[in-house]
Subunit: 397 residues, 2 copies
């Protein structure tokens, strides 16, 4: 048969991370590679109760076709929760549930945004480095990526001026994937002001914002410019990823097109999953549940930082100290390439993701991402020690 | 903000059907409009048991991120079932589970196929009329649609010759949406031979094939040319649509690109739903369950046909007698437009979908689609009588 691939298909590539994850599935490998939430945190009993409840009392509706917008009570929860958090952070954000679109994981929100906003050769601004899944979702629509640098406070706002006609700037202000870095309040204000001045739309992705260790992050960018931004969130990190429940909040001018793209993409997100999660969320469930996740991830992050301090001294490696989230970012000595280090590390029983996977252009080959949430505290100590041994071996030549 | 929509977004439109469904949600309206399976057929008890079982025994995996390809046992079920059915129909089809990609409803399969195979202005062949959701999924990738006519046996194979460079021909051979028509064995052979001669790929969509009344349909087209076709199926009609579980079977040359598109679209279909349904399917569940759906839909189809015979005589309306599926196709007297009839019908308490929604080009305005699966036998008699009254009123002017 004469199969002819679309031009965009040639740009699609297998995910580097998925390929690495296959390696890490070998028994005995300690994985700092995947961004897999700790299964210990999945509220299995609450899910079991909610499944039984929804099927017994609302089974016909939960199993039927449903509105593309999503399940009403879940959209209301999202709107209320965002308003509550933003108000607590000092910037009230009266989200209308009609602006909330439930998506099949927040990955789907990226796909819908790409379809509605990216033409071939449109400029799309991303952080340097940025979330690999966003690059994968945007790439089929054939944008020109331009990456924006950052310092310890957050993205370099001045760089935006050079790209006034970009379709949007995709940014993760909280505990970013891959770096774990967060944007300061001062930088958020500056970014928000500059984006408004330029008329530059922002797509704000916030899957990790709830996973703070000691202090909640500043208010979302979107709360500061409600008609200018699309906001994305997820239940993957606070409940469980295997249900594929995310959402976006869009300005009323854009919502109808995103909804039409959603309808064409999969009609609607599973109605059963939406009702089941809405049931779990009743009565403030997350208020008790999320602090448990925070405490666990904080202890695991501290274990990793302690192990790095202990085993990495004198290796010429630097890293950050995340205030939340799931990831930590390492810089190897200048000329050392993380892709070359990986097979040696796997030989010693530990895996990570080379940082080059997260760059839209000009990768920094001496970077790598470590996840501290999947492995236990004991495994973290052992894995960091193995990683140090692999680096020493590389240095020795 | 300077939101600039992608060119493809201008082609997206709200679904006519979704708009009509909103009207039909008014209390007291008998709806022949939506393609909603009868909720009476949803195996709620089996789902409840499977949810409890999966969460108790396999909760961590069911709630975690998972492979984009889908859950192994579910892919194996699909492969075995297709082989079994095709063999029974006389054309053995040894499907390799590695060719099966689980999708978030079969609607998502359409989206992935569009991304991988359609460039701007690619010719895509569709039936006249065809499934509206396919037109919606393909349209964002900006194809040129060409529609292929049909007679009582199926699509007009000769018309394919005029479009040898089409990217593919999208066809629903069994109890088609919207017409309810099926393709004969002779026509399937002829289509298969001609597609092979032309090198024309076929995308075969089969959501309704299991819903036969008296005789199973002939073997799938794909079984006759395994490397030339993509096959699509769904659990929406045999179990429940609210779980959003569909699949495609692709030739090995195409599978990797479809998989990459899937990964970018939503990472994977909910692992929980896949495991839950795999659990329900164990022990030949469908062998007992699907015959119950068939018997119900057959009785409802017969009720609709009997009501049409009784109430529509002398109205100049013609219709087909489906051998399965969910839909029946009406032709009004030549100049009567179904879109004009609809508000009058709704006034009398009955709704349908005007046939014009299902044409890629040159709609036949005197056609309409009736679903016989959502309304009860009593409602069907009442609704058909109301529809006849609306038509009489239109004729009277």
């Amino acid at each position: 048969m004469n199969w002819t691939l679309a031009r965009r298909a040639e740009r699609m590539n297998p995910s580097v991370i998925r390929e690495i994850l296959k390696v890490t599935e070998k028994p005995g490998i300690i994985s700092f590679a995947g961004g897999l939430p700790s299964p210990k945190t999945f509220p299995i009993d609450a899910f079991a109760k909610a499944c039984a409840d929804v099927l017994a009392n609302d089974g016909h509706a939960a199993l039927q076709y449903a509105a593309s917008e999503g399940y009403g009570p879940l959209r209301e929860f999202v709107a209320q929760e965002l308003n509550r958090q933003s108000t607590a952070a000092g910037v009230p954000w009266p989200v209308d549930p009609a602006q909330v679109l439930i998506t099949t994981g927040s990955q789907q929100a990226l796909d819908l945004i790409a379809k509605v906003l990216i033409d071939t050769d449109s400029t799309v601004l991303v952080e340097r480095p940025t979330y690999l899944g966003a690059l994968q979702a945007f790439t089929p629509m054939e944008p020109q990526f331009v990456s924006v640098g950052s310092d310890a406070e957050g993205v370099d706002v001045d760089e935006l001026k050079q790209h006034p006609s970009a379709r949007f700037f995709y940014v993760l202000p909280n505990f970013q994937n891959p770096t774990g870095a967060s944007m300061s309040e001062v930088r958020r204000s500056a970014l928000s002001a500059e984006a408004a001045r330029l008329g530059l739309p922002i797509v704000e992705d916030n899957p990790y914002g709830d996973l703070w260790f000691d202090t909640p992050p500043p208010a979302p960018l979107t709360a500061r410019n409600r008609d200018g931004y699309i906001y994305m969130g997820s239940f993957s990190k606070t409940l469980a990823p295997g249900l594929r429940l995310g959402y976006l909040v869009a300005p009323k001018a854009l919502y109808p097109k995103l909804l039409q793209a959603k309808q064409a993409a999969d009609l609607h997100t599973p109605s059963f999953n939406q009702r089941m999660v809405a049931k779990v969320l009743e009565g403030g469930f997350l208020d008790g549940h999320v602090p448990v996740i925070r405490a666990l991830y904080k202890s695991q992050c501290e274990a990793m930082l302690a192990a790095l301090d202990k085993d990495f001294s004198g290796l010429g490696v630097s890293w950050n100290k995340p205030a939340g989230g799931m990831f930590l970012w390492l810089r190897l000595p200048g000329a050392m390439r993380a892709v070359d280090l990986l097979p040696k590390a796997v030989d010693k029983g530990v895996a990570f993701v080379p940082g080059s996977a997260f760059y839209a252009e000009e990768p920094q080959h001496n970077t790598l991402r470590l996840s501290f949430v999947t492995a236990s505290v004991e495994q973290i100590a052992q894995g960091v020690s193995a990683l140090a041994a692999a680096i020493r071996e590389m240095k020795a030549g």
